[in-house]
């Protein structure tokens, strides 16, 4: 069964247009295996969503993609993850540089307790993306515009970002992530702390971001996956069960487990 899904995936994606390709990724927390032999190809200019029940390893896999798992002492990753053909777990790779290229938005909105402006400007500042104040102003404005929050905050750039509403905070975090102009944007359940209206705004935003970024989103909501993504990967108990076009996964899944999950029988 596993082999079959693997073949399926190969037929869907031609190697040339994939941005990230993971091969046989295993993740262990001490001696607990959190991910088993995950192989996946993530395409350019597309939104890929990871779905699956809690604890299935989808967030763990997402955090492998920008090596955020490095911050956990007991976490061990084996296998290969290639970003445009380069192995990101190569000892010569500096995770700091990698993370500038692979931005991340977290589950809970986590703006720095600073002004809106400083939140957005922090990334460009530490990476030296702006030489002058006006360059920086431009980056901040552009990022906020792309995150569809410019109109709401343009008059209070110097007020604390923590004083905004949850949905606004999350869009600030997205703006902050795209301010460093990454190639890939990882989103770990970005709407789980938001109300339906804010969720709709963020989803709309994700759809727009697709033009410029390769977006990978982890979500609990199957409706959300169906709405925003072109590709969907279903994880279950640490392994990748099925990966393919979102439409196909939701209408005609190959694997009975996928079908059980999307129809609500497991998970």
């Amino acid at each position: 069964m596993k082999d079959q899904t693997y073949l399926d995936r190969e037929s869907i994606l031609t190697p040339g247009i994939s941005k990230i390709s993971a091969k046989n990724v295993n993740v262990y927390y001490d001696d607990v295996q959190a991910l088993k032999d995950v192989s996946v190809e993530i395409g350019k200019n597309a939104v890929t969503s990871f779905i699956g029940p809690s604890g299935c390893g989808k967030s763990t896999f997402l955090r492998c993609l920008n090596r955020m798992n490095d911050t956990i002492d007991i976490c061990k990753v084996t296998g290969q993850i290639l970003l445009e053909g380069e192995d990101i777990y190569d000892p010569k790779i500096d995770p700091v540089q990698l993370r500038a290229k692979v931005g991340m938005v977290f589950q809970k909105p986590n703006p720095f307790p600073k002004s809106v402006y400083d939140n957005i400007a922090y990334g460009p500042k530490i990476h030296g993306l702006a030489n002058t104040k006006s360059d920086l102003d431009e980056i901040v404005e552009k990022s906020l515009q792309r995150a569809a929050i410019w109109d709401e905050v343009k008059d209070r750039l110097s007020s604390p970002a923590t004083g905004l509403s949850g949905g606004q905070q999350q869009r600030i975090c997205i703006a902050r992530a795209i301010a460093t102009s990454p190639d890939i944007l990882l989103m770990d359940e970005p709407c789980s702390a938001l109300d339906p209206i804010a969720t709709a705004q963020v989803e709309e935003l994700i759809d727009e971001l697709r033009e410029n970024f390769c977006v990978v989103i982890v979500t609990h909501s199957m409706q959300q996956a169906a709405r925003v993504s072109q590709k969907t990967a279903f994880f279950h108990l640490g392994s990748l069960v099925e990966f393919g076009d979102t439409e196909k996964i939701f209408t005609n899944p190959n694997d009975p487990r996928t079908e059980s999950y999307i129809t609500g029988r497991i998970g």
Binding site: N66, M68, T71, D73, V96, Q97, L98, R99, A100, G103, M104, F106, K108, N110, P111, F112, P113, Y122, G123, I126, H127, T162, C173, R176, A177, T180
Partner: protein, 442 residues
């Protein structure tokens, strides 16, 4: 309404509920009782300190017109400073006595007191007070100058109500006749009780003159101690905590360090004192009784407190902030210094101030390294002198005063405690204000 529905009514309180409510009421009473006892103790402590200590801030002064007689102070009459310096404080006693007699004549007060008893009313610090005044400018010889002198500790004690005529009946230090004279002088306003700034700012005098003793030098000593403690323990403590909390991998080695730090925080301070004596003075040969050694010892004592509170405040910074910074491509160090440390700063400051307050009130280790009272009689003039010349600290000076037999010194010990408590209260209030001010929500 049937029988069953009646027994199930919410208005019927079951016996179990009654017991439960009674237990809660009892517990509340215990709690209120405990707090009341605590408050009562605090009230007793505070009122005792204030009642006993405030008198130390007031001292009895006598105002005298002193003739700076050339015949006594400059027999050669050529105003040569070196010659005038040869006149010791003892040589100034006669002119003091003259001034005393003059004031008695002026107010037509007669007394049966002999020379020695009459002069004994004035503090032994008076002659040197005149001598310093004369040596400042020798041309003052020949003038008549008004001086305010301290009154002897025994007489001061009589005015403050410590002694009565009966209690000094057999004393060789004071007599009922002296008290009679003081009463008369008090009436005409020559003798008066007023606020004594010298107690707060003055250098402490010899153990012969409690009335002239001040806590000023010890205060300066405490200041230099705190300076050394702050300069050493804040960077060391913060660096150690940041490394342990943010960078070090969790393993058996860091576990051992953690346990050791917690244990060090509980080590009695006198142990640090004896360590300081053995290491800093006997082995490293740093000068004894100096604030630099005291500061080093207190640094050892304060470090665990600062490390523990700093680690706690670093821990309280939500991990999501670290994730956010790391996710943006900030390095570990940028994450810590740009985001974690500013958020932890109020906690670190509070911990530091509380640790310093603890060090400020510490006397046991200082006694071991020789920072006891009466080692300094002059204010240090430079920072290096302040650090390297023998000095005392406020709690050690208070201890020295408290162990003396003379009640005039005991009074000063209580007064010293008030000053020390004011410092500690100020520091703790500062800690609270800083925490309130910089506390941020995220």
């Amino acid at each position: 309404m049937t029988e069953t529905s009646h027994t199930n009514s919410l208005f019927n309180v079951s016996s179990k509920t009654k017991n439960r409510n009674a237990a809660e009421r009892r517990f509340r009473i215990y709690g209120i009782l405990a707090i009341s006892i605590g408050l009562l103790m605090l009230l007793v402590l505070a009122s005792t300190i204030i009642l006993r200590g405030t008198s130390a801030f007031q001292q009895t002064f006598i105002t005298l017109d002193v003739d700076l007689l050339e015949s006594k102070l400059d027999k050669k009459g050529n105003r040569n400073v070196d010659d005038i310096k040869k006149v010791s404080t003892f040589g100034y006693s006669p002119i003091l006595l003259n001034a005393m007699k003059k004031v008695l004549e002026k107010h037509e007060i007669s007394t049966s007191l002999k020379k020695k008893a009459l002069g004994g009313i004035i503090s032994k610090s008076a002659p040197s007070q005149i001598r310093d005044f004369v040596l400042e400018d020798v041309n003052r010889i020949g003038q008549t100058v008004e001086f305010k002198f301290l009154v002897n500790g025994w007489i001061d004690g009589y005015i403050k109500g410590r002694y009565s005529r009966e209690s000094v009946a057999n004393s060789k230090f004071a007599s009922a006749e002296q008290f009679d004279l003081i009463d008369q002088l008090l009436e005409v306003g020559v003798v008066e009780k007023k606020f004594n700034f010298d107690f707060i700012f003055g250098a402490d005098a010899s153990d012969q003159r409690p009335e002239a003793a001040g806590i000023g030098v010890a205060m300066v000593g405490s200041f230099y101690l705190m300076l050394v403690v702050l300069v050493l323990s804040l960077p060391l403590g913060v660096a150690a905590s940041i490394y342990l909390e943010e960078f070090a991998k969790q393993n058996i080695f860091t576990d051992i360090i953690e346990v050791t730090i917690s244990n060090l925080a509980a080590v009695p301070s006198i142990v640090f004192g004896i360590l300081g004596l053995a290491v800093f003075i006997n082995y490293m040969h740093l000068p004894q009784s100096t604030p630099i050694v005291g500061g080093l010892v207190l640094t050892l004592m304060t470090l665990p407190t600062i490390i523990i509170s700093t680690r706690a405040s670093l821990k309280s910074v939500p991990p999501s902030i670290r994730d956010a910074a790391l996710g943006l491509g900030a390095s570990k160090m940028q994450t810590v210094f740009h985001h974690v440390l500013p958020l932890a700063a109020p906690g670190i400051l509070t911990g530091t101030i509380i640790g310093m307050a603890q060090a400020l009130g510490e006397s046991a280790p200082l006694l071991l390294i020789g920072m006891i009272g009466y080692v300094a009689t002059n204010m240090p003039t430079t920072i290096s002198e302040g650090l390297l010349s023998p000095n005392s600290a406020m709690p050690a000076q208070i201890y020295e005063w408290a162990k003396r037999a003379d009640p005039a010194f005991i009074e000063r010990a209580w007064g010293g405690i008030i000053i020390l408590l004011i410092f500690l209260l100020t520091m703790n209030t500062m800690a609270v204000i800083l925490r309130r001010r910089f506390e941020r929500r995220w």
